[in-house]
């Protein structure tokens, strides 16, 4: 299937989902749905680096938080300017400030892409494990920086006022959900396109045997940097609207370990070699979590994710997609 056709179908599916969710008059559907769709973006982003090239990023939460905090910083800047602005200029200023969320998403993505590139540049020339450890340490350090940065609220957090309505759509939550849905479509199309391009074959060569890839002329370092940048940027884009969703952003919640765990567990459970894997993993695990969150408790639901991750890694190393492929292949050979 060609990419434009795939894009069209993905957009159609997203549109149908959005319209279907509007049918029952239930705001909570969007609140819960937002989290799941956000994880589709995070899991797909993680998979571009982790699944395609085999470099594990434990710092998803940090990229997500940078995206979120770049929004907080920009909104705070806008508010500060607003107070200094003479009344005559204010209406003009309000035309483009605070920045609309799509612009914030692009900025968050750019910031995180740069961070990803820097991380990769410092660590990717060494063995893969160093990259993983550095991402883990980076999450702790960036959290330290944000906690000490009073401008964005420091350790006590920052409030972001969410407008009640979005013109033409109804509630603001629906607008946020719709944006995230578009972002998920973008992420999936990007992942699928990469998978079938020269870039994707290069990534796969690195994953299977980096030394052999290097020897056959694959520019491994450059490809790995492309992967970290892309993956980081997508994670940042997923984080940028988050302050509007949550209303009150705190370092503890933005850097929560559950983002790191989920964005690894979801692709691992679904299957890491194709774009379908993270999608399936997220739909299953994300829905399960939302249900468990309501019916049991949030701590138990995190335990569930951890145990599922360990279980799948040991028993089904190629995830659900791998299990199906094995069965399909076994039937084909009969």
């Amino acid at each position: 299937m060609r990419t434009p056709l795939f894009l069209l179908i993905a957009l159609l599916v997203a549109g149908v989902i959005f319209l279907l969710m509007r049918l029952p008059d239930m705001e909570y559907l969007f609140v819960a749905g937002y989290v799941i769709v956000q994880y589709i973006v995070l899991a797909t982003a993680w998979n571009i680096l982790g699944g395609y090239t085999g470099y594990v990023n434990f710092g998803s939460a940090a990229f997500f938080a940078i995206g979120a905090y770049s929004t907080v910083a920009l909104v705070t800047v806008a508010n500060e300017i607003d107070e200094l602005m003479p009344a005559s200029l204010a209406p003009f200023f309000h035309l483009f400030m605070p920045l609309p969320i799509p612009v914030l998403i692009v900025i968050g993505g750019m910031v995180c892409g740069i961070v990803g590139l820097g991380m990769g540049y410092l660590t990717l020339r060494l063995r893969g494990a160093f990259f993983a450890i550095a991402t883990l340490a980076m999450a702790v350090v960036l959290q330290t920086l944000v906690v000490n940065w009073e401008f964005v609220g420091g350790s006590s957090g920052a409030y972001i006022l969410r407008p009640g309505e979005f013109p033409g759509l109804g509630s603001y939550m629906q607008y946020l959900f719709g944006l995230m849905l578009l972002l998920a479509v973008l992420a999936l199309v990007a992942a699928r396109t990469i998978e079938r391009s020269r870039l994707g074959y290069g990534f796969a060569a690195i994953r299977d045997d980096e030394l052999a890839a290097e020897a056959s002329g694959v520019p491994t370092l450059r490809l790995k940097l492309v992967a970290t940048t892309l993956s980081g940027a997508l994670m940042g884009m997923a984080g940028a609207p988050f302050p509007y969703y949550i209303g009150y952003l705190q370092p503890q919640s933005a850097f929560g370990l559950e983002y790191a765990v989920n964005s690894i567990a979801m692709p691992m459970i679904g299957g890491t070699t194709t774009w379908v894997g993270p999608l399936i993993g997220t739909l299953l695990l994300g829905t399960l979590q939302q249900v468990a969150n309501v019916t049991i408790s949030s701590a138990v639901n995190l335990l569930l994710v951890g145990l599922l991750l360990i279980g799948f890694v040991i028993v089904a190393p190629n995830g659900l997609v791998g299990l199906f492929e094995d069965r399909w292949r076994a039937r084909g050979s009969k």
Partner: protein, 291 residues
Amino acid sequence: MDFPFDLLINAIVAGLLLGGFYAAVTAGISISFGMLDIVNIAHPAFIILGSYIAYILGISLGIDPIVTSVIVLPLFFALGCGIYQVYYLAFEKRGQESLRGLAFFFGVLFVTEVVLILVFGVDYRYVEAPYIGPNLRLGMIDLPLRMLVPCVAALILFGALQLLITRTFTGRAIMAVSQDQLALQLMAANPVNIKRIAFGASIATAAVAGALLIIIQPVEPSVGREYIGRVFAICVLGGLGSMPGTLIAAMLLGVVESITSTFYGPSWSPAVAFGFLLLTLAFRPSGLLGR
């Protein structure tokens, strides 16, 4: 403005004491990551587990945390052997240790933390011992016993490990397994057995490190995460698996962190380890005493 000289001296001494403790925390990683090539990022979680065991026995039976850690040492050793067995069968044997092995240990880290939160909650826990509180004073230098005792205990642990590794057959086999498995087999030693023992020993050090941790500071389940950056920074800076290098690196990090927190405030000290790690990776990836 005259420079606060006594403040600096005290910061350095406190840093050296802290560094001794860091050496105990890193000893296990030096074995598992440095020598066996097993990226055990769950190590800090086992340290926290050790802290909680010291806490439980201290509260219910009144046993000293360091004595507790020696008692549970065999248990942790067995736990380590068990984990290695799973790791070996599921990942090493299939040759998938890099990506999935990492995810496995990450899952173990996460599950341990969540279980501790479910059982104990997120309150800070601490132990009581006669040496927590009093200060030793030498001239203008303060030596808080709650730092001095863990530092001495850590150095003893470290010395014992170093002796074990350099003087016994098993210890030398552990060093050999990181270099040449085939040659080790020719010496009639089974690499898998040797690795299992070594990984058991690395987890066993977590029991001691955990007891020392809860003497130094109150502990809650997510404290371990702060140590991930530190232990790997020390391990890499020390030159992956070199025990003397690890000790020097631990002391160095302790001093720099202590100076940072004295002059800039304690909320900045976690950033120091990361800076160390990145600088080392960028300029001298083989570490201070690397091969």
